[in-house]
Each structure stands twice: as C-alpha cells, then as structure tokens.
C-alpha cells in the first residue's frame, strides 16, 4: 500500500512540473486539476489503509472542488462572466 501511495506521489510530481513549466494558462489549469484528482485517490488509499471511513468524504470533496474550479477557469478563458 505504501508503494502505491509513493508511485501516485510520483505522478503528482509530474503534474507539478507541468504546472510550474507550462507555457500557457490552460496547461497549468489542467495540471492542477489532475493533481487534485490524484490527491483524491491518495486520500482514498489512506482511508483504506488506516480504516478511517471519514477520509473518503474528503476524497469526494476534493473531486468537487477540482470540478468547480476548472469550470470557473474555463468560463474565464472563454471571456464570459460566471453567470452567463
């Protein structure tokens, strides 16, 4: 289980490289989006490892935050306002 979490963290570091390096704004946005989904997976693995059922709620909350943030940034890039 520890090895799986370490490998997932390696993937999160790849995303961090793209978020720091990315030439355009949507590059950084998609990297942060994917990174949040990976954190959600890591939280689910921790919930399984330590038998803490409430950590899976945190996993769902991270997925929701990632979705709403990416949609807001997509609307901003399209040049429309948030209630359009």
């Amino acid at each position: 289980m520890t090895i799986l979490i370490i490998v997932l963290s390696l993937g999160a570091f790849f995303c961090l490289y793209r978020a720091l390096q990315g030439p355009s704004i949507p590059d950084r946005a998609i990297a942060v989006d994917i990174m949040t989904v990976i954190f959600s997976s890591i939280t689910a693995l921790m919930a399984l490892e330590y038998r803490l059922a409430y950590l899976i709620d945190l996993s769902i909350a991270l997925a929701v935050i990632s979705f709403v943030g990416t949609l807001a940034l997509a609307k901003y890039l399209e040049g429309r306002s948030l209630d359009d």
Binding site: L4, G11, A47, I56, L73, E78
Partner: protein
C-alpha cells in the same frame, strides 16, 4: 479471491494514473496533453475506487468510494471539455503537425495551427 481482485484493480489504477501523468509531461501541445492526462486519470481513479470498494466491502467506506468513482467518471471529462473549448477560444495554438482543425473550419477565420506546415 475478492482480495486478489481488489489488489489487481488498485495496481491497474495506479499504473494508469502514473502513465497519464507521464503523458502530461511528454506530449507536444496542450490538447494532446489534456486528452492523455484526462482519460488515463479518469480510468485510473475509477480503478482505485473500485479496488477500495472490493477490499472493504459494503460499508460506509466502500459505498462512498463507488459514489466517488461515479462522480469522477462524470465530472473530469466534462471539466476537460470545457477547458479545451475555453482554450481554443482563448487562442492557444495547435501543434504544428496537426492535420485537421474542424473548430476553425466551422467558425471561419484565422487558422490556429502553429507555425508553417
């Protein structure tokens, strides 16, 4: 048996996720990176959540993991599609070896494939 299936699902999910992140680093332009990362990470996260469900059974943990898998399966492609459309309108260039650009063809106007063919 169920336990072995759970481990298998967890390992497949983690493998898909890390390979998708490798695609996020290696691919040439924004749209290639976006499709690699989005598809692989969606399937990988669903695999991990399915593995958590198989290993923990029908409890608070397992059922919420299935709900989270369903939510990720619906929302991550929607968010990536909205972001791809937003970045096309924002003016991010396509890769220089792109052969087809239906979005610009339908809307008319300047081509957004970067550089000379």
């Amino acid at each position: 048996m169920i336990d072995v299936l759970g481990w298998l699902s967890l390992c497949v999910g983690v493998g898909f996720t890390v390979l998708g992140c490798l695609g996020l680093v290696r691919f040439p332009d924004l749209y290639n990176r976006m499709q690699a990362a989005t598809k692989c990470v969606t399937l990988g996260t669903c695999g991990i959540m399915l593995g958590v469900f198989l290993k923990s059974g029908f409890g608070a943990l397992g059922v919420k993991a299935l709900l989270c898998a369903l939510f990720v399966l619906i929302t991550v492609p929607v968010a990536a599609h909205a972001l791809a459309r937003g970045s096309l309108i924002f003016g991010v260039k396509l890769w220089k070896d792109t052969v087809q650009d239906d979005f610009t063809d339908d809307r008319g106007g300047e081509s957004i494939i970067e550089g000379p063919k």
